[in-house]
């Protein structure tokens, strides 16, 4: 397999890797580094790649592990997690600017969820994977996925309702 073949295989899910890392890690730079690292690792395992049932699922698992490791290393070196603002450079419609404040609020709430719930919410509601696929990628069982998903969604709903009742929106 040459680099061109590899990039063709990787292209459909490289953004998913990035977005997953972006959800868990604090900055765009970190997420980009993570993506590069994961793809590099995948490249070094390219010989086995054809034997994997599902390269994409394997890549997502690697991303999860990489992010966990990064977060762990950070915690142990006592660097506090700082929420950076999400740069809004894709949407520019009037409606989006109105909504963007509360959208950022949603991202902030997502960041406050336990790591596993963040991952599951991202994989299900953003990437639209099935629970079975998520279970495979995160190496947990399907029941856990469903429970965590419900918990994560409810937590965010509570936050939204609270914010809504203050009339900020």
């Amino acid at each position: 397999m040459n680099q061109k073949d590899f990039l063709t295989i990787v292209r459909p899910f490289q953004d998913k890797i990035y977005r997953l890392a972006r959800r868990l890690l604090t900055s765009e730079e970190e997420a980009q580094d993570a993506t590069q690292e994961v793809l590099l690792k995948l490249w070094s395992k390219k010989k086995q790649m054809t034997t994997y049932r599902n390269t994409e699922a394997f890549a997502m698992t690697m991303t999860k592990n990489y992010c966990y490791d990064t977060l762990k290393a950070k915690r142990s070196s006592n660097v506090s997690l700082v929420h950076t603002n999400y740069r809004d450079n894709s949407f520019d419609t009037v409606k989006e600017t109105e909504v963007s404040d509360s959208v950022n609020w949603v991202y902030k709430m997502m960041k406050d969820l336990p790591e596993q719930q963040q991952l599951i919410l991202q994989l299900r509601d953003v990437e639209e994977y099935t629970n079975a696929e998520i279970a495979e990628q995160l190496e947990i069982n399907e029941g856990t996925v469903r429970t965590a998903l419900s918990r994560a969604r409810k937590t965010i709903r509570e936050g939204l309702l609270e914010k809504h009742s203050y009339g900020i929106n």
Partner: protein, 150 residues
């Protein structure tokens, strides 16, 4: 447009983690659309957040190590060189090694043939030395004068 009853029902299932991907897709479409019922407006942010999150793209480059394929080419070139070298070496050695001058393997035959060859040489020498007898005559004549001078 989906009926509001469906939306409410799916939303309930959504928070229980029991909605299907298809229903969730329709929910996203509804909440990012233009007509959202006022009592459901609070969920717009949630679903637009997901829709927006999906727009994020990896803009970095993918740097793969370039050493590997190059070293492969080099090792192929090197092994070809080695093969060519070995081929030439053995070829030359084989050419120099032609020690086969048509010698006889069997020592008896070799001895016989050597004898024959030596006899042949001997007979040639005999023929030629017989011609030397003429020199005796020459000596006789010179002796006559030299001895007489003495």
């Amino acid at each position: 447009m989906e009926s509001i009853k469906n939306i409410e029902q799916w939303l309930e299932a959504y928070f229980e983690g029991e909605s299907t991907l298809k229903q969730e897709k329709k929910l996203r479409a509804y909440f990012t659309g233009d007509e959202v019922e006022p009592h459901l407006e609070k969920y717009i942010a949630l679903f637009s957040a997901f829709a927006k999150a999906k727009q994020e793209r990896y803009t970095g480059e993918i740097n793969l190590p370039k050493k590997k394929p190059f070293s492969a080419i080099f090792s192929i070139a090197a092994s070809i060189l080695v093969l060519v070298g070995l081929f030439l070496f053995f070829n030359n050695r084989n050419n120099n090694n032609t020690t086969d001058y048509g010698t006889y393997k069997d020592p008896d035959v070799a001895a016989l043939k050597t004898k024959q060859a030596l006899f042949m040489m001997g007979s040639f020498i005999d023929q030629n030395t017989s011609k030397l007898n003429a020199l005796d005559e020459f000596e006789k004549t010179t002796d006559k004068y030299i001895n007489s001078n003495n």
